[in-house]
């Protein structure tokens, strides 16, 4: 009896993940290194600016993390982001109702892309890496047709601007608050709900999850819809930030989103990872890109250093256990 009670009590101990701790340590190290170049790297404005920019990636990476936890991947991020931003702006052209529905409409379009991905992966059993590649191409095609045909409106609504650049709480950009809210929701979803438990289970062994009576296909589909919707919402925020939408706006988010999730200790094979890690990964990638950018390193050197640093950090804490 007492032994069992004891067993239950140890739950909290294992939550301290060394990978996450190391990732946060790397962020501090990077900033310290940056401050050698200019002390402004430690200024509150710069840090808040980084957090604000990180929150776009953060929102997108949240969806990517869900999908990666399932052992899948979502390569449709670039055009899901663009579709979200462009469609939200487009909706705004249709009177006050349009302005009102702009954000939900943009997100819904992203969710629709996610739905196609989800059906493809869950019900048609097409490998996610390839179906999402295809939907990405289709989304791109749709946006080209759309841009060419209808003299589109692409400036962001006031609400989008407010979400991305305003600040309701003094000093804290709204984008950061939104990311925090989405983050809380994600943590809650992953740790406290049957959905989250099922996501981890499917990532580990879908067959066993299915035989346990879980509707694994629905869960996979929902995760992809969420990923599409979150990418699109990232696009909405991005459009708000830039005050307009553009076709290429998502291109820069695919590889960083994957890298951020994995740098945060989530296994690319699925089934293992915590949201705290993803937060660390997102900030890490954002700060790294920013520092390299501001230091005026030539692009060639920047790419090399970026690559080497990622490998180095992964070697620090992202190694898979040895076979023996």
């Amino acid at each position: 009896m007492s032994e069992t009670a004891n067993l239950v009590g140890t739950r909290w101990l294992r939550r301290v993940d060394p990978a996450v701790a190391t990732a946060f340590a790397c962020i501090i190290l990077l900033l310290a290194f940056g401050s050698l170049y200019s002390t402004n790297f430690l200024s509150p404005e710069y840090l808040l600016q980084q957090l604000k920019v990180a929150s776009f990636l953060g929102v997108i990476a949240t969806g990517m993390m869900l999908v990666i936890l399932l052992g899948q991947i979502d390569l449709s991020v670039p055009w899901a982001v663009a579709v979200g931003g462009m469609m939200a702006c487009a909706a705004a052209a249709y009177g006050t109702v349009g302005v009102y529905l702009a954000i939900p409409f943009g997100v819904a379009c992203g969710a629709a892309i996610g739905l196609v991905n989800g059906i493809g992966v869950a019900y048609l059993r097409i490998p996610s890496m390839i179906i999402t590649l295809a939907t990405n191409a289709v989304a791109q095609g749709l946006m080209v047709v759309y841009t060419g045909g209808f003299s589109p409106r692409d400036s962001a609504t006031a609400a989008m601007r407010f979400l991305a650049t305003g600040s309701l709480l003094p000093g804290i950009p709204n984008a950061v608050v939104i990311w925090a809210l989405i983050g809380f929701a994600a943590v809650f979803l992953l740790t406290r709900t049957t959905f989250g438990r099922s996501v981890y289970a499917i990532g580990n062994r879908e067959r066993a999850a299915y035989l346990s009576g879980i509707d694994t296909r629905r869960i996979v589909m929902v995760a992809f819809i969420l990923s599409g919707a979150l990418s699109a919402f990232g696009g909405v925020l991005l459009a708000g930030y830039a005050s307009k939408a553009a076709q290429a706006m998502g291109d820069a988010y695919l590889l960083p989103a994957i890298a951020a999730v994995v740098l945060g200790g989530t296994s690319i094979l699925g089934g293992r990872g915590s949201y705290l890690g993803t937060i660390a990964g997102v900030i890490l990638i954002t700060v790294l890109q920013s520092i390299l950018s501001v230091m005026q390193m030539p692009e060639a050197g920047r790419q090399v250093i970026y690559g080497i640093l990622i490998v180095a950090m992964l070697l620090l804490y992202g190694r898979t256990p040895a076979l023996r």
Partner: protein, 327 residues
Amino acid sequence: MTGDWRYRLARNRGTLLAFGIFLAMFTIYVLNHPAGFTANVVQTATNKGVLLAFVAMAQALVVITAGIDLSVGMIFILTNCLASWIVVGTPLQTALGVAGVLAAGLACGALNGAIVIYGRLQPIVATIATGAIYFGIALWLRPYPGGSVNEGLADALTGKLFGIVPASLAVLAGAVLIVWAPFSRSVLGRAAYAAGSAEPAGYMSGIPIRPAKFMAYALGGLLASIGGLFLTFFTYTGEAAFASGNAYTLFSIAAVVLGGVSLYGGTGSGVGAIFGALAFRTIGDLLFVFDLDPLWQPLFQGVVLLVAVSLGAFGLLRVRSRLEWFR
């Protein structure tokens, strides 16, 4: 043995299906081509297809081990930039240059392999990172497009043999014979399949899993560099084109899947990947023969790709046990 052919068919189904898809699409293409089925049309299609075929074969080697190489496109670009510097001059210099380019590709692949296997990193992220490194080096080599190549060699290898057969196709066949065939029949190649299919079981069976994976990555780099070399022959120049490097990486993944190589590892063949690449390229060529509004072309390509990758789903109709949904 009497029942053998059945097993043989089953084993090569992916490759045969890829061949079928390619054949069907290519037939549609040439039947509708204004110039018809001429040696020039075939040569043009081949030269374009062969580039991706090399990169796809590189990807296939790695995918068979249940890995993935998101840096193949960048190795392709890097070796293109390198070739535009060193594959010039006298025949001897040119030969040395070619060797240098291939060695560089091999080295990139080997670095990937070392990081993934001995560093024990997940291949997806590890190769995203090395891809950035390779691109950085490519950009350093070629800040602007330019350079040159031994044009005689380039013309010979992108031209036609006996006025009919595209020379690049012959080189591709040569690569299959020299790289793929021995790989698939060697102990290391077998171990590579085992690594992709069930790595712990392979380890417990005492086979050289890690050398096999390492070789798959290294040979992948080598094949990508043959692709880079051909890009140089085809364009006479080198260019550190980021977008096109990424595009080739993604295309190569699409190609291996179309070619019947399972992304979960353990099955498929390099030959299948080649047909997958050729089929994928033909999707793009179809634009040329159908009179589509230019703004609808990207959508058309996307939809054809979506349909092509969904073809495999028809197999689901035959699935009688729902457990077969899960591998």
